[in-house]
């Protein structure tokens, strides 16, 4: 029983920095705390550390600022693209600029590009801006998905079509987590491409005005000459400090 409790304590301390984990586990061993009291002590420290993270602007930008609204809007794009693709499959594949309706094809391509770029940039930015509160950001992203999945009533499409955006978003998160960097020129090219595609969609009335927020992460990457390690400077400092 004590071993299980001790394992639990070790798992809980994974939320702390490696140095602090070492210190806290050492303290618990030295004072021979009971398992229950040890768990209470560690959970108290973990809770305080998590709350401290929210003193800065980064977690607020990442979770309620980006993850939550982008999730809603990107689901809209996922749905629109799925519907368009379904029409193409049902009424014949016309994905050619020289087809009878090139405008529709261009609009579809724009939507796909916006989805890919904005979801990737959002995933990358959310992970880079506030790495240590990523779980909360992920929850903020998944809650709208759950809400929409439960209310999905379109019979001609599978409900999981709403989650198309998660693939590029997860790719962006993984890229950032692996220490990937994006140089300013590429970031600028991505931001411009997303903006042009959005403008095309807006000109054809295919865009809700709030969707413009989606290009925020792409421009954030383009304007700030950032790498994930640079973006996370305050957190990294705090970690090394601890």
């Amino acid at each position: 029983m004590r071993n299980i409790a001790w394992k639990l304590i070790e798992v809980m301390t994974l939320q702390l920095t490696p140095k602090e984990r070492e210190i806290v586990l050492g303290d618990l061993i030295e004072t021979r705390e009971t398992a229950w009291r040890g768990m209470r002590e560690v959970s108290g420290l973990v809770a305080r550390r998590q709350l401290q993270l929210w003193n800065g602007w980064r977690p607020w930008l990442a979770a309620p600022g980006l993850a939550f609204p982008c999730s809603f809007m990107l689901m809209g794009f996922s749905f629109a693209i799925s519907s368009e693709l379904r029409n193409h499959f049902v009424y014949g594949w016309q994905l050619s600029l020289f087809s009878t309706e090139p405008v529709e094809t261009i609009l579809l391509l724009c939507q796909v590009l916006v989805l890919l770029i904005c979801a990737w940039a959002a995933g990358f930015t959310i992970e880079s801006v506030s790495r240590r509160t990523f779980v909360v950001s992920a929850i903020c992203c998944l809650l709208p998905c759950l809400f929409c999945l439960l209310r999905f009533r379109q019979e001609s499409l599978p409900r999981f079509c709403l989650l198309l955006f998660l693939f590029p978003a997860i790719a962006g998160v993984c890229f950032s987590r692996c220490g990937g960097a994006i140089n300013r020129r590429r970031a600028l090219a991505l931001a411009l491409a997303a903006t042009i595609c959005m403008a095309v969609l807006a000109a054809r009335g295919h865009l809700w005005v709030l969707n413009w927020e989606l290009i925020g992460p792409a421009w954030y990457l383009a304007i700030l000459p950032v790498r994930p390690d640079r973006m996370a400077i305050p957190e990294m400092r705090a970690q090394s400090h601890e």
Binding site: K19, G26, D27, E30
Partner: protein, 109 residues
Amino acid sequence: MLGEFEYLLITAAATLGENAYGVAMREAIVRATGRTCSIGALYTTLDRLEAKGLVKTWMGEGTPQRGGRSKRMVRVTPAGTAAARSFYDTMIRISNRAPWAAQRTERAK
């Protein structure tokens, strides 16, 4: 000005000298106040004091009692000593004519 718990930590660290680290400081505070001192309160307050430049902390060596795990050693800086002295002086000045302080002085006489 320091907070009450900050003052307790600095005083405990200053009293323990070279042996000031997490567990020893917690024990000193519990002995002096009769209240429990959680690990969370201790280390978050230490971080705050270190950020203010009032203490300096570093990783000490592990001991067999700790399963070989490191300690967080603490040393009070001159700024920390000055802040603690200022807090102490203020407490003495403001308590000077308080009834409980007068009773204590009479008992001492």
